[in-house]
Subunit: 347 residues, 4 copies
Amino acid sequence: MNFASDNTGRVHPKIMAALAAANEGHLPSYGTDPITRAAQDRIREIFEAPEAAVHFVSTGTASNALALSLLTPGWGRVFCHENAHIQTSETGAPEFFMGGGKLLLVGGEGGKMDTASFAHALQTYGDASVHAGQNSGLSLTNGTEAGTIYSVGEVRDLSAMAHDAGLAVHMDGARFANALAAQNTSAADATWRAGVDILSLGATKNGCMGAEAVVIFDPAKSMEFEYRRKRGGHLFSKHRYLSAQILAWLDDGLWLELAGHANAMARALAEGLAGIAGVAIDQRVETNGVFVTLPQAAVTRLVAAGASFHYWPEPAEGDASVSLRLICGWDTRPEDVERFLSVLREG
Amino acid sequence: MNFASDNTGRVHPKIMAALAAANEGHLPSYGTDPITRAAQDRIREIFEAPEAAVHFVSTGTASNALALSLLTPGWGRVFCHENAHIQTSETGAPEFFMGGGKLLLVGGEGGKMDTASFAHALQTYGDASVHAGQNSGLSLTNGTEAGTIYSVGEVRDLSAMAHDAGLAVHMDGARFANALAAQNTSAADATWRAGVDILSLGATKNGCMGAEAVVIFDPAKSMEFEYRRKRGGHLFSKHRYLSAQILAWLDDGLWLELAGHANAMARALAEGLAGIAGVAIDQRVETNGVFVTLPQAAVTRLVAAGASFHYWPEPAEGDASVSLRLICGWDTRPEDVERFLSVLREG
Amino acid sequence: MNFASDNTGRVHPKIMAALAAANEGHLPSYGTDPITRAAQDRIREIFEAPEAAVHFVSTGTASNALALSLLTPGWGRVFCHENAHIQTSETGAPEFFMGGGKLLLVGGEGGKMDTASFAHALQTYGDASVHAGQNSGLSLTNGTEAGTIYSVGEVRDLSAMAHDAGLAVHMDGARFANALAAQNTSAADATWRAGVDILSLGATKNGCMGAEAVVIFDPAKSMEFEYRRKRGGHLFSKHRYLSAQILAWLDDGLWLELAGHANAMARALAEGLAGIAGVAIDQRVETNGVFVTLPQAAVTRLVAAGASFHYWPEPAEGDASVSLRLICGWDTRPEDVERFLSVLREG
Amino acid sequence: MNFASDNTGRVHPKIMAALAAANEGHLPSYGTDPITRAAQDRIREIFEAPEAAVHFVSTGTASNALALSLLTPGWGRVFCHENAHIQTSETGAPEFFMGGGKLLLVGGEGGKMDTASFAHALQTYGDASVHAGQNSGLSLTNGTEAGTIYSVGEVRDLSAMAHDAGLAVHMDGARFANALAAQNTSAADATWRAGVDILSLGATKNGCMGAEAVVIFDPAKSMEFEYRRKRGGHLFSKHRYLSAQILAWLDDGLWLELAGHANAMARALAEGLAGIAGVAIDQRVETNGVFVTLPQAAVTRLVAAGASFHYWPEPAEGDASVSLRLICGWDTRPEDVERFLSVLREG
């Protein structure tokens, strides 16, 4: 009954098997090996982007911060949702890699900005100037930190506004597989065809050990990325082990299968919760997270039964009802969901 | 016959097995899991440093750059050998993480500074001042980039000079295991008892997949390291897989066994080379690297026979003799060495 | 009729005279001259802070950004009002000098946060953590960007909350003289006795050519400031000319006299405006700025009559009424105010 | 008898007069005033570079560091002489503004690199790569820190080598006026026609109060410079006072007249010194500095007589002879030189 995070889970057996298979003989280091080339090619194929530059790193924070640093000078300003992971949970990594660039916060329900809130922020923060800084980027998280998704149309509209304002578009895709699995669309339609310039494509949360891809749809920026990655200490020497994870994760659509399973578990959990008295679902459940408010007494029972989760936000002393984030992963089992619901129903 | 780099090799089977064993169930993320605690404790025990802070990252560049940034403000100056990896091969990562700090170069034979060359550099660069900057660190690589080692006495003397000059001491131990295996001493004697303040302890080159430990003998700096690691994008989410590598690598002295084997292969290679006409050994062979100069014709034969290595330095067009770096790893086999020598002897 | 900015004005004749008087013979450079020492001592005396470190720079942005960098590591977070100059008008200088630190925005009427809005922000952004960053500073602007002031009691209450939360307190005093002249209090009571740790004391807007003092009440940080100032390119070589401005500005209370005059002109302007139909005063007028909303037609007349000012904010095409910022300076004459009011009254 | 530095001197009366003349009425701030435009135009005219971008800052360190940051990314490498001011005396400001870029040191007699020593350095540091970094700039100081000059031909040859190697060329012209006054050439021939891409044109040492121009011969970089200047805290608000200095300094060739005088005084000093027994001139005297070695006893007499200068380098306890740097300025009088020589001759 671990619903704490998709980072507490393990590595999918097929990915472990790929690591074992890659563990033969000598191969060139630093990303010049054939496994890396194969993984890069596979991503270009899936995204129908034969010219895209594709590079791998081992953490999501590195992926986001390096990607943003390609879009934004040290005097630049990047718009993002006020709950974006790059703002709340990366300890200034974006600012560090951008060389001091600034994140400007946009409001919006369900972890999403919309064209109105983005327009409002553009007006609030005003035009670029030597006093204000250069407006340089928009970062959208898809799937969002609130378990919701931006539709292809929403990405297209926000990207168009961004491009009109001179901003390049980054997508934090830590849960891009979950977002894609939740929609009837293609990887290309959900990204570059909708205006995304750089995608941070997350694999760690979705079955890998520690592997993320940065997909740069304008290949002219590729060499700069390579310099920045090395300078950030993010160029793996035994690079095959990074690439082998990605390759296995993409093979036969495993990435979408795992994400789809996690989404289905979250949906089942949400449906069960909706039928329990005193429990309120706080956000639309579109990917693998369920945000819920319920009585403190129920939470006490869940803890006693061994359930894991994060309070969202931290409750104050004596609150009668508290809010939780429940995350499902590729390895969440129907019986975990069922048992969680049972504990609540017994109340 | 791959002598290109200790980064082209594979992961030791025991370490692969440890990764598989760690791949069970849910564990807390971001370094709060029991495997991480066990690996940290094991290092404290081996280094007889019960209070030391121990943190893990996945690349040597991150390990060095983060360690240096703990010692040096952005206006600081760190002395290192002119051939140090932090100067020649890390694309400004130390300067980036230090926030602009400067590396000051010290000469010396065999990839090593000595007390005379260090004293000369201290005098050349002069006292700290608001115009010159703050003298803040000394970084020693052990084993060195030239296949040699600093003895315990040499580390002690250089560290004492550094401390007298107000400098903290960092050791780039990308090949610390090789240096330790080559000497009859303890990990503690070779580091903190000799004056080392922070050790970047490399495991990747010596059988791991991508795992390095930073050992901070003054634990007061631990939290700062954690902030810096996260901000650098170097905090692994599924952290158990970093720690499991380290733990297996240290288990039953595997780290020293592997390093000792690599050293022995280099020694065998050097001994064989020494008996071949026209071949000159350029550096003392004390760890796992052999630096050698030989006729171009011999190199052509080696290439034809499938040998891999790096030119050191790049030869100019038409040079009659060229210089090579030959690196042995934990997985170098006696028959690789023998075959390499045979090709040369057949000339 | 120039109400555009206190930066468009000239240098007070007494300060020009002091520069001429300082222009004799040779003096040590880089701040080791007697004029600098005298100016530092004068500030220590006025602030009743005999131990304070006092350093001079030539721009307000440098003063703020360097001061903040003393309080905040690159992974730190500084709370400030959402309209603070450091957030809106310094192009990322604070982030650059802090090495990537983050500004967290606090709301509040009249350009001021209050204990409720600050408490709300502290709760919103949460505790320091390796994921969120280190909460390190609070920056208050006094007089504010909206022409208002924080009372001594308000500074004391906010500083106490900040210190309780582990934050150090910076005051952006670009218009500190105006704030002090508006209150019946001492420089010490308005700063360190109320909890301010570092003051950026502005003189440029108030009669100097380009001179600002940074007053660091904890002298242990003095040398770090000196390194940071030099590294930022802000250590004047012919330093006497910076210090001579400050000394003359403080002499015989000139600084408060000039600020008091500017405040009085703003008050007179506001009183006149209040009596004109269709004109609304938008903020309490407590220092030298008047924020006013009036019909577009009136503004057209003002422009035709040669008045200068900034729109605040930029009006949209076709707005019937627009908002202006009117700034008075030490050199604003009663007849400028009168003529401005006359143009409006004639409407 | 002050030969300590050209920074200990005062401001030329014509420049003081220009500041007084500029002190009238209101003018737009932040560099949009007519005095600034006039000063920019004057520089474009003198350098026969009608398209060049020209911006002003107040310190030489800011001028150099900002200029270098235009040429060099954070992973870049800039070649400079080992005694260059940017390496020895700016506390890491270049590295800070470049975002971590690296200075690579080139040897050479008389404070100058030559084509051989530069070629040697290019070979030593090798090609750009993702491991080594990007070779991006060459910085030449003219006049040099050793009182010598690069001839137009020397600048042309070194710049051509730099451009061939993909490096842009910066000239640290803190004493460019002295170098120009010493040669029969034009400002254009000595800079962009010889291959210089950006010039830091120093005026402070040569009669100004604190004013330096950055001349960017490729105007496409102008806006980036403006962002960087503001972000560095180097955009003066009351900008007219910076520009008025530059304008008066250039008027009627005052800059070359003052530099020529300083050079002549140095030449007279050197000629006198050459005739005194036991005194050795250490460098060719081509601008306004004289580097000399003489007996300790003579130095003691000079000190007793009230002479000021810098030891170069710091002598060790008990040295029989010591070395000095003697700098002449626009305000050095023939009688100062004569008295200095007299004290020595009396020995």
